[in-house]
Structure formats: structure tokens, C-alpha cells
């Protein structure tokens, strides 16, 4: 999808940087229109958002904390894209992945966090991966489309989590459907603690070690997709299934593996949210960040180097949006969802809208050499 949008006739930076910037500009312009429509001042609102997201240590911490989850879900959607699969189920996979983290933490009792982390990471990937693997298997062997199946799996995950929390995991004697808190020894170190140990004073925020895990996941995905044989197989299947069969690659296997990996990456959101911040299982902790992964992946053009800045941008929108809603009674935090939708529209479905104009522009300036086709 996105990663294949490039056709080689534009310089790489036009496709990789200029187009996403244009898309965000359009999205922000439309949001400004919405703010005008509401009767508020767009410039002031933008200022509030920027200050809210980057103006304080806490703000930056929150921005990066949201970005952590968005990197995981963005990578999840992107890796599926490269395999020609549109995984709309990152939300549900993250939910179930978090269940894995929570159960592992509840079972591990007083383990030190650093010993438990490999277990919780594996649990997140296994649970989330399973929730992606099943739709993958259904597409590969039963021909049901992964888009519909993953949407259905989001709803099923939601019902399942309510059932488990209400009937089994709920802390006895409590009304709200939440599990007991996990042992404090399992809490992932927060950024302020870690940097504090190094003598750096930073403000308190939910940002925690998972951010480094997210960056590590970026490197792993980059290596996997572009520098390994399974990654080559993945991209081949995504671009041309017939060519894959010609090349001796079984598309069915690739689809299943890809969906499992995609779900596994989404599941890692649970490490950030459950082990890093909430410290217990509760309802709706993915809070739409799985869906936002779609916008992050599209804007990042499917590449980790694009996904990190896209995730930080959306992290900033989440954090800045919350500040905005706090400052302005009339502007609700859902504005970030509008921006997200517009970015999906322009970076995804309308990705060719600006291309002819850009092509014409570059052709006129004679910077590209047309190749005889």
C-alpha cells in the first residue's frame, strides 16, 4: 500500500518527507477549519497544543508515553501492509496482548521487573499474536477477508475482556471491573526514575522503559522486513502473490506469520500500558491507540524511520489535545480523532491526489530524468 506508493519518478525525499508533511498540513488546516466553525481561535488552539505537548517535562513525557504505544501499533499495521494485509484489528490484538501481560504479572508475583520483562514481552506477543494469527489463518486457508475478520475480532476481544474482568479477574469486593494491582516489584522503571539514577532531574510522567522497547522493535522490524529472507518473502507476497508462488514462497505461510507478528507487535502495547503504567488489568486500556496505529503507519509510509516521528506527532496530538480540552471548554479531545481520520484519508486513500502536481512541478524544474519505459 503506502510503501509501494512510490513509483520512482519523484526524488525519494519528495515521497518520504514532502508528501507526509503535505498530508499533515492538510489535516491541520481542516482541523483549523473545524475550530473556526466552533468559534474558537485556531492559532491560539495550536499554541496551546504545542505548549501542552512539548512545553514542559511532563508534557514531553506524556507525548512520548502515547508515542510508545503508537509505535507498537503503527509497526503492527505497517508490517501487515507490507504483506498486503490491512490489519484493522490492532486495537483488539493490543487488548488481548495486554491480557497476556496482566496474567503474566499476576502470576509472577514478586519477581524483579527485569527478570519478568522477557516473560511479559513474550506473553504480550503470544496473546496479541494469537489474536492476529487466527484471522491470518482464516484468510490463508478459509479465504475470509482479514479486514472483516479483524474488525469482528475487535468486538469479540472487547466482549471477552468484559466477561473475564467481570466474572473472573475482578478484585473481590470491588464494584468496578478491575483486577488487583500487580506486585510493585514488577513495575517497569519510569523515565524520571531511570534518568534520576543517572543524576538527571526530569518531571514525573508515565513515560517508562517501554519506550526503549518500542525503539528496539523498530530496529527489529526494519531488519526483518528489508534484510532477511522471511522479510523478502513477506514483501513479495504483499506485492504480488503469483510471483511469490513462482519464487517458491508459500503465501499462506507468509500471511499467517505476518498476521501473528503484526498482532504480536500490537500486543506489546500491553507492556507499556499494563506493566508500565496502569499496573492492573482494566477495561478499554488500548483506548483507540490501536486504530490510531493505522494513521501512524500510513503517515510513516510503512517504514520505522517514518513511524517514530509519526507516532511522536500523534502522541503530541493526544497530549496537546487533552490540554486543549482542558483550556477550551468547547474543544473536546476527540479533535485528535478527526485529525487522525483526515491523515488516513490523505496519506492513504487519496495518496495520489498531490502526486500529479508534484510530478509536474519536478518535471518543470527538470530535476528528474524520465526513464524510457
Amino acid at each position: 500500500m503506502t510503501a509501494r506508493g512510490a513509483d520512482g519518478r519523484l526524488p525519494w525525499w519528495a515521497t518520504a518527507i514532502l508528501m507526509p508533511v503535505l498530508n499533515v498540513a492538510v489535516a491541520l488546516a481542516l482541523s483549523a477549519l473545524v475550530i473556526l466553525l466552533i468559534g474558537e481561535d485556531p492559532v491560539g488552539a495550536l499554541g496551546t497544543m504545542v505548549v501542552g505537548a512539548f512545553g514542559s517535562g511532563t508534557g514531553i513525557g506524556y507525548t512520548l508515553y502515547y508515542a510508545t504505544s503508537l509505535i507498537f501499533t503503527g509497526l503492527a499495521v505497517a508490517i501487515a501492509f507490507h504483506g498486503g494485509l490491512f490489519n484493522i484489528g490492532a486495537e483488539g490484538q493490543a487488548y488481548i496482548g495486554g491480557l497476556g501481560v496482566g496474567l503474566a504479572c499476576l502470576a509472577l508475583g514478586g519477581w524483579p521487573w527485569w527478570l519478568a520483562l522477557p516473560v511479559t514481552v513474550l506473553a504480550a506477543m503470544a496473546f496479541g499474536g494469537f489474536w492476529g494469527l487466527v484471522p491470518g489463518w482464516l484468510q490463508a486457508y478459509r479465504g475470509s477477508h482479514v479486514v472483516i475478520t479483524t474488525i469482528m475480532f475487535n468486538f469479540i476481544a472487547s466482549a471477552l475482556m468484559v466477561y473475564l474482568l467481570v466474572n473472573w479477574l475482578i478484585r473481590p469486593g470491588q464494584m468496578s471491573p478491575e483486577s488487583r494491582e500487580i506486585d510493585p516489584s514488577l513495575f517497569l522503571p519510569k523515565a524520571d526514575e531511570m534518568l534520576g539514577a543517572l543524576g538527571l532531574e526530569v518531571a514525573n510522567s508515565p513515560l517508562n522503559l517501554s519506550f526503549l522497547l518500542a525503539l528496539l522493535a523498530c530496529v527489529a522490524v526494519w531488519l526483518y522486513v528489508w534484510h532477511t529472507r522471511p522479510g523478502f518473502a513477506l514483501r513479495t507476497v504483499g506485492a504480488n502473490e503469483d510471483a511469490a508462488r513462482y519464487a517458491g514462497i508459500d503465501p499462506k505461510h507468509v500471511i499467517i506469520i505476518t498476521m501473528a507478528l503484526s498482532g504480536g507487535l500490537a500486543g506489546l502495547l500491553g507492556v507499556n500500558e499494563i506493566q508500565g503504567v496502569q499496573h492492573r488489568l482494566l477495561l478499554n486500556f488500548p483506548a483507540g491507540l490501536g486504530f490510531t496505529g493505522i494513521a501512524v503507519a500510513l503517515m510513516g509510509r510503512g517504514h520505522p524511520a517514518g513511524i517514530v516521528p509519526a507516532a511522536i506527532l500523534f502522541g503530541a496530538l493526544y497530549q496537546g489535545g487533552a490540554e486543549l480540552a482542558f483550556e477550551y471548554q468547547t474543544i473536546s479531545p476527540e479533535l485528535v480523532i478527526v485529525i487522525q481520520g483526515v491523515v488516513i484519508l490523505f496519506a492513504g486513500a487519496l495518496e495520489h491526489l498531490f502526486r500529479p502536481a508534484l510530478l509536474a512541478l519536478f518535471a518543470r524544474r527538470g530535476k528528474t530524468k524520465p526513464v524510457e519505459a
Binding site: G8, H227, Y246, G248, D250, V371
Partner: protein
């Protein structure tokens, strides 16, 4: 019946049913039609021949309103006509039978006929009226078609008749047929020609696009030859010969004799025994194929497209599961249902240049160097767990040099290479692997003439290096020029075998038509 435009044509007799004057058309850098001027007399069958890419289909698509010419004029019955949509063409009495049928497969024949010609917002009355009219047309032209059958249930030959009927029902008195025989069996071809005769007798004009000279000689009154987008010759069919037309098509004396040393075949590298493929609908598309290919020989498979050649090639390449039989490669026997796939084929020393190169052999979105290892990505020489792309790029540059792939740009996106250069890249990749057995389909389809000779020489060099080559091609000339032995397929069976020295176009032709000469294969060591 009386309302057909034919009546109008007779009322004001124009000397030509359709005239194309100075038609010019470019697709980007490709000059598809160059100042083409053609005139078609009413009540004739006019052949349009030329090699692949000569511009025949583009020209007819312009006449049918699918594309607009960049310049030039179209006249219909003497009147200048603006044809900017198929709707315009239909209104002017021009109909077209496309190579890939334009039928809605889930609809009945009658619904397909009605589509776009409903005459009113409700279907009920239209259906009743159409049924009457169509039945009259069927009788008039000997086109029998079951009107209430669902199209996907009908054999190809009948579907084609539906297409012809559709054009006639919409009032076509000029009928364009694009490669109509490519998908037909010989009896179906004969039936089609009888229908065309009948249409001509009724005063309709038929434009027949083909690259099969035999058909041109059999049915046309006049023939125009296109080469590289321009008309290079026109003949009265009765006063010309296949040779003359062929010479005009190729632009030089059409001798495709290569400088070919006699083969020195060694031991069999590929032995096939009773290979059978049954398709999804239960039809046997390949029946009991038995033959060998020995080291140092080229075995060519001749046949009308769709007679089992593709299935044979794909089954051997591991892309199509086969249902019965077995074959031996490098001493390893492969049986039906053994999970043989393209990866296993390569492990057994098979390389494969597929017929449908653009769809199968390259991923167009990849840079060229990544396609240069497609299929061979498992090779340990490409690196450990991490692929060494730098090395691959160097290797690709070397292959591009050796096989003259232009431009020599390993990291250029593959879709930006021309078809011929993509084919050379695929050839380079497969031949460079030094396979024991090379399966090659349509090696020069869509390739420009300069590159054809080059590709042919590469194939012969591989043969002379003691490898076995199985060649499938729709071009009989190519088969005859390259092969040491020729197998002829018809109806999914190998119906005959000829040593190259004894092969003539006539003998192969009659075998292709299903008249078996001699039993296939010789003694087989399984």
C-alpha cells in the same frame, strides 16, 4: 430485423464502410500508431496482421472509442465521425468482440445482451422484446446460443458467439474481432469462420485482428500489415502468399534460421511419465504427457494456445499441482501429491522463465536487484540471516552487463524497465543459475526484434553447455528455429513428435489441429 443500420448503408451506398485517415497515437514514449490510413469496403472481411505490439489492438480500440487518437480522422459510411466513447461507436454501428470477453459471467446470456441496450427503465418488457429479436438474429446468422443459460456455464466458443450476437443485437454492421481464435479449438475455429462467411454474405464488414497467417489466407478478402505502429503493406488476399505477408510483418526476409550447431544430446535430464492435470472444474487440461528432454537439446512444444502447454510448464515448475503421473529430475522422482513446489523445483536444478513474465517472474514494485534474486532468495551465498544486498547489487550489475539490460541501473524500480529489458533480466537470472533443466515459455513475447536474436543465442548457448531446455512458444517460427525436437500438443495431449529436420509448418499445423500422425514419445526410462 428491418431496423438494422444495414438498410441505411444500402440506401446511400458509400464506397467504404469505415475509413481511418492519418491516425496517430502515443502512450508516453511509445508511438503506438503512426499516421495509419486504412479503408474497409462494406461486405468484406479485412485482415489486420502484425507482430505483438505492432499497434493493431490500439488502432481498433480507437475505432471503438476506447481511446482517442492524438490526430487523424475516422469516417463511417463516408461521413466524418467523432468516436469518443464506445457508446458513439455502437451508435454508428460498430461492434467489437474483445480478446478477453466483455461478459458478466454471473448473468444469463439474455441479460448480457440487454446490458446497455435496455430501452427503458424496466426490464420485463425489454426482455420479452429482446428475446424475439435475438432469436431472429440467431436464425439469420446460424449463431446458436441458449439465451437463459448463465454465461459462466458455457464453453468459450459459445461465449464468443454471445459476444458476436451482442454486437449484432446492438446493430453492428462493422464487426471488429480481436484475436478471436486464440482461445478456440480447431472445430470451434471452423464454426467461427462459417459464421463470419455468413455475416459477409449479409453485407456486414468484418475487421479481423490476428497474427495467424493461415487464418488470414482462409477467410479474408484483403489484408493490411502493421509494423511498429505503421501500415507497411496491403494485399488482396487472393493475390498474395503467406510468405509475402510474413516478410512484410517482420520487415525483412522472414527467415528465422539461427546459426545453430547440430545437437549432441546426452542422458535424459528430465523424464516425464503420464503427467496429468485436472483443473478446478474437473476438466483434464493436461492428459498423460510422456516425454524426455536430454542434456544438450531443446525440445519445443507447439500448439494452439490453451491446449495444455501452460499447464505442462507450470506443473513441471511446481506452480500447478498435478493429479497423476510422475517425472524424474536429477535422479529424483517426483510423484503427484508429493508437495512439489517451485522451491523444490529449483532445488532439483530447474530454472523457469514463465510465459506470463510480468505477472509471475518479477515484482514490479521492487528495485531490479531484488528481482535478480527472486526465486533464488534461499541461496546461502546471499548472506547469513541478514541478506547481503550490496553483493546482490554488484552481481546484478554484472548480469545487466552480460545480458545487455538497459538501463544498467540495479536499483531502478523494475516497472521502469521496458518489457524486453525485464525479460532479459529474468533470462539472465535464470540462466546464470546454470540449471540442469530450463523451462521457458514465450521467451520473446513482447520483446523487440533486436533482443529476440540475443535471447535465442543465449538459449542455444545454454543448450550447447549440455543443459536441457523445454520451450513453449506460440510462435511456430520460434519453435522451429530453436528446437531439436518438436512435440505437438492438442486438447491437453501430446499428439505428435517430429525431429526438427523433418518439421514443416504444414506437418506441425495439421498435428496442432488434432490430426495425430505418430504416437508420442519413445521408450521411457522411469
Amino acid at each position: 430485423m428491418t431496423t438494422l443500420p444495414l438498410a441505411a448503408a444500402q440506401a446511400s451506398p458509400a464506397p467504404f464502410a469505415v475509413e481511418l485517415v492519418d491516425i496517430d497515437k502515443r502512450f508516453g514514449p511509445v508511438h503506438a500508431n503512426r499516421a495509419v490510413t486504412l479503408r474497409f469496403a462494406p461486405g468484406t472481411i479485412h485482415g489486420l496482421v502484425g507482430e505483438n505490439g505492432a499497434g493493431k489492438s490500439t488502432l481498433m480500440s480507437i475505432l471503438y472509442g476506447f481511446y482517442q487518437a492524438d490526430s487523424g480522422e475516422i469516417r463511417v459510411r463516408g461521413e466524418p465521425a467523432r468516436i469518443s466513447t464506445p457508446q458513439d461507436a455502437i451508435r454508428l454501428g460498430i461492434g467489437m468482440v474483445h480478446q478477453h470477453f466483455m461478459l458478466v459471467e454471473t448473468f444469463t446470456v439474455l441479460e448480457n445482451l440487454l446490458l446497455g441496450h435496455e430501452e427503458g427503465p424496466l426490464l420485463g418488457a425489454a426482455k420479452a422484446r429482446a428475446r424475439g429479436e435475438v432469436e431472429a438474429l440467431e436464425k439469420a446468422f446460424g449463431l446458436e446460443v441458449p439465451l437463459d443459460a448463465v454465461v459462466s456455464d458455457l464453453p468459450v466458443g459459445v461465449q464468443q458467439r454471445v459476444e458476436i450476437l451482442k454486437a449484432l443485437y446492438r446493430g453492428a454492421d462493422v464487426l471488429i474481432l480481436d484475436e478471436p481464435t486464440a482461445v478456440l479449438s480447431p472445430p470451434e475455429v471452423e464454426q467461427l469462420f462459417r459464421i463470419l462467411d455468413r455475416l459477409r454474405a449479409e453485407g456486414r464488414t468484418i475487421l479481423l485482428i490476428t497474427h495467424k497467417l493461415k487464418e488470414i489466407m482462409a477467410v479474408t478478402d484483403r489484408v493490411s500489415v502493421l509494423r511498429q505502429g505503421a501500415v507497411v503493406a496491403e494485399f488482396d488476399t487472393a493475390q498474395t502468399s503467406q510468405q509475402a505477408i510474413a516478410d512484410a510483418m517482420v520487415g525483412k526476409k522472414a527467415v528465422l534460421t539461427l546459426d545453430k550447431a547440430p545437437a549432441t544430446p546426452g542422458a535424459p535430464l528430465l523424464s516425464v511419465q503420464g503427467l496429468t492435470v485436472v483443473d478446478g472444474r474437473g476438466v483434464e487440461t493436461l492428459s498423460d504427457a510422456t516425454f524426455q528432454v536430454r542434456a544438450g537439446e531443446v525440445v519445443g512444444i507447439a500448439g494452439v494456445a490453451g491446449n495444455g502447454q501452460s499447464e505442462l510448464l507450470q506443473a513441471l515448475a511446481g506452480m500447478l499441482p498435478f493429479n497423476a503421473g510422475r517425472f524424474t529430475l536429477a535422479g529424483t522422482e517426483v510423484a503427484a501429491g508429493s508437495g512439489y513446489d517451485a522451491a523444490k523445483a529449483r532445488a532439483l536444478g530447474v530454472a523457469h522463465v514463465p510465459e506470463d513474465r510480468l505477472r509471475l517472474a518479477v515484482v514490479k514494485a521492487f528495485p531490479a536487484y531484488q528481482n535478480a534474486v527472486l526465486g533464488w532468495q534461499g541461496d546461502k551465498a546471499l548472506g547469513g540471516w541478514k541478506l547481503d544486498w550490496r553483493k546482490v547489487m554488484l552481481k546484478t550489475a554484472e548480469l545487466m552487463e552480460r545480458f545487455d539490460v538497459r538501463p544498467r541501473a540495479p536499483s531502478l524500480r523494475t516497472s521502469l524497465f521496458s518489457g524486453g529489458n525485464q525479460q532479459k533480466l529474468v533470462m539472465a537470472r535464470e540462466i546464470d543459475r546454470n540449471p540442469d533443466v530450463l523451462l521457458v515459455g514465450q521467451p520473446t513475447r513482447g520483446v523487440d526484434i533486436g533482443a529476440i536474436a540475443f535471447i535465442h543465442r543465449q538459449l542455444l548457448a545454454l543448450r550447447d553447455a549440455g543443459k536441457a531446455i523445454l520451450l513453449v512458444s506460440a510462435e511456430l517460427d520460434e519453435i522451429m528455429a530453436l528446437s531439436d525436437r518438436i512435440l505437438v500438443m492438442c486438447g491437453g495431449r501430446i499428439v505428435g513428435e517430429l525431429p526438427a529436420a523433418e518439421a514443416t509448418e504444414q506437418r506441425i499445423g495439421s498435428m496442432m489441429a488434432g490430426i495425430a500422425e505418430e504416437p508420442a514419445g519413445e521408450g521411457i526410462r522411469a
